[in-house]
């Protein structure tokens, strides 16, 4: 019997991190999760996260941070800003500057205390919606920075990095956990049933459609 291999999943309660959680449970012998309450408009995501960690029987550390609503202007923490997808010259209004940087840095600090070296995040470059902090070059650079900052040997795992949404759905199917996605949250408008119309809902629905699999999540009408 080898040593127990522990991993920490950065867990939002969305489709991607739920898929990562299922992946981590297969790859590691002990899995914990960390969830960020950062004043997101779609607060319902936090309830999803709590529910899913319960069903998956993994521990959950919830970290509250009010930085983003105080320091930045973005549509995810400020309901007065309209959600748009951005353009060639402009980042989407839902981009929260430095979000993954802060989340993964805090995750690493927490992991260090827990003796965990493997950290899993659901960021994805393929359909990255214009978010620079979802790209592989950012993650690789951050991994090095985290290790320099704490004299550590962290490894950042990004199982979805180069997958399309279709392939992410297929991964979950292969892991036998599609039903877990019934509880995951995606909608930027934070409605339940999901709106089915915002950029996040559209991307999710497209992935399921292309994979030929029915999304267990409930949508409006």
């Amino acid at each position: 019997m080898g040593q127990q291999k522990k991993a920490l999943v950065v867990f939002s309660g969305g489709q991607d991190s739920t898929t990562c959680l299922a992946w981590a449970k297969k790859e590691f012998s002990a899995v914990e999760t960390i969830t960020f309450d950062y004043g997101q408009r779609h607060k319902i995501e936090l309830e999803s996260a709590k529910k899913i960690t319960k069903i998956a029987k993994v521990s959950q550390e919830v970290v509250k941070i009010d930085l983003f609503s105080k320091l930045t202007a973005n549509a995810l923490t400020d309901p007065s800003i309209t959600i748009n997808q951005g353009s060639k010259d402009q980042l989407p209004s839902t981009f929260v500057p430095g979000r993954n940087l802060i989340f993964l840095s805090i995750a690493a600090i927490y992991a260090k205390q827990r003796g965990i070296k493997d950290i899993i995040t659901g960021v994805c470059q393929t359909d990255y919606s214009g978010y620079p902090d979802c790209r592989d070059q950012f993650i690789k650079s951050l991994e090095q920075t985290l290790n320099f900052s704490m004299d550590e040997n962290f490894h950042l795992h990004t199982p979805l990095m180069f997958l399309s949404k279709k392939e992410t759905v297929e991964m979950m199917q292969q892991l036998g956990q599609i039903e877990l996605l019934k509880h995951s949250h995606t909608c930027y408008n934070g409605t339940r049933p999901a709106c089915g119309k915002c950029p996040a809902c559209k991307l999710r629905l497209k992935g399921f459609k292309e994979a030929g699999i029915t999304d267990p999540l409930k949508y409006e009408q």
Copy 2:
């Protein structure tokens, strides 16, 4: 007339960041500061920081974060832990894991909102007290990570990186600002007058002594 060049100083109110502030005021046409209230044992540092920014006539953004006292065990945020200097195999008990990582990341997020590209920090590798996040390789790696994370062109300035404490004192002398250090705080024990005995006080006193300059700060007896 060229464009106004703005800079943001990560400002603790200690000797090093006060020296950086004086340096920045000479190098840049507009200087702002950001200070972190992170539950430090030496809370008096925050009063020093406020006083110095007033004297230097620069704006100050104070950011409160309770992460470190919640997520990590260290002597700076937990008074029940004894202050020690560490050894070859062990980091000092005053090491707050991820502190500069988080401070500089938040500084960059704030700088982005303020249209600032130049960020100044007083970290120093020379007598780095065993803190991995004061080394040049960490700062270089972080600069790249910050730029990837937000599609930016930040430059992290570290004017003290390769200076001895003696040279830092001499720099302040050359900048004509030694008197400003009267208000700066260094002591880990948070006493005023300063204790003169903790590792931080000792390092400071040694620097002044070697430079042949009188420290304007008051010490016990």
